[in-house]
Symmetry: C7
């Protein structure tokens, strides 16, 4: 394979960095990527639930089940 | 991997502590995390079903099937 | 792991006891938990299908496929 | 485990007996349980598709894919 | 197990015979069962797509992905 | 088993031939079947996205994820 | 098998090239394919979220979970 980056390695590179997480059902979260596993279950620290550009809720920590994830963006 | 926390280990750290569980279909629960397994099936003790910020139902115990979970937050 | 209870063990403790089963699609059942397997397929005895707090249907026995389950509560 | 009945064994006990099968999407069937497998794929003989308490269609035989099943009731 | 018929064996008995295939999303097909596999992926020959009792489309051959199947009826 | 054709072998017979691919969510594609795998992930060449009998979009190549497929028809 | 191209090999040929990614729920993305794995989890670089032909959002990087993908087109 060419010089390429696997999705989970790319997540690994963003550990402890701020990410935006888009979930199914129009939910968006911003926070620090604190961990993940191969199912894309993720741990977010200092997360903010976003709705229409506004902060709807703050969560010190959230363990998100991977099957809800659309994408994760640093 | 960097200094990071796996999602299931993070659940483990919150055993016997209060958590908020957000489920698909706009259901929210507050309760004590009494157990879980790798599918994120969870056991909640003294759970309250929340709807629009109000307590809708009280459950001494609830065994929630993991595929309903959006996130779990301590 | 701390002093904790796995979801399936918790089901096991409630065998032959009355439970409430909440299914996807706004269906609720009350009955006696007569059996289950690791998929959370369950056997309910003397089950009542509930809708808006009223009994809609009575079933001597129901074998429920696990993927419909939201939670089971003793 | 206590004196309990596994879901698939319970299906086995109802082979060649009349059952009611509730499927996702508001479909109900009555017929004779002619066979099943661990996915809850089932074979129904002399099946009637029910809608609002009325017989909508008659099927000499139907092989139902298990993932559609909500519950099976003798 | 009693004198019973497994779902896939029952499909096997109907090879090269006319079947009705009901799919999720209100699609119905009539045709000759030309093949299948354990996922219930099926091959239909001389298939007719039915809608409200009328033939909507004719397909010389259709390879249907099993997860769409509700039931197959000879 | 009788003289029968497995779904994936049937796909194999249609490699490099024109096919119609019906996807969930009312999307239809016409194109040349350039490849597939056991999940029914498929490669379409010179594909046309159809909507209501009209060509909506042209794609030189499309790699379609198998879980979207309803049926593939030569 | 005839001279054919497997879906994942076709993705491999498009690494570091511009692709269009159509997701479930009417989301479209344009970007450079930076990586993928067998689940069709993909890494997109310099991605643009498209809606009705307009750029809605720009993402330097997006790790998309494979189960959202309808198709990927170079």
């Amino acid at each position: 394979m060419v010089n390429t980056v696997k999705p989970l390695s790319m997540l690994s590179k963003n550990l402890n960095k701020p990410v935006m997480v888009e979930l199914k059902g129009n939910k968006g979260y911003r926070g620090t990527l604190d961990g993940f596993d191969p199912h894309m279950n993720i741990v977010l620290k200092n997360a903010e639930e976003m709705e229409g550009g506004e902060v709807k809720r703050k969560l010190d920590l959230a363990i998100v089940r991977g099957d809800n994830v659309i994408y994760i963006s640093p």
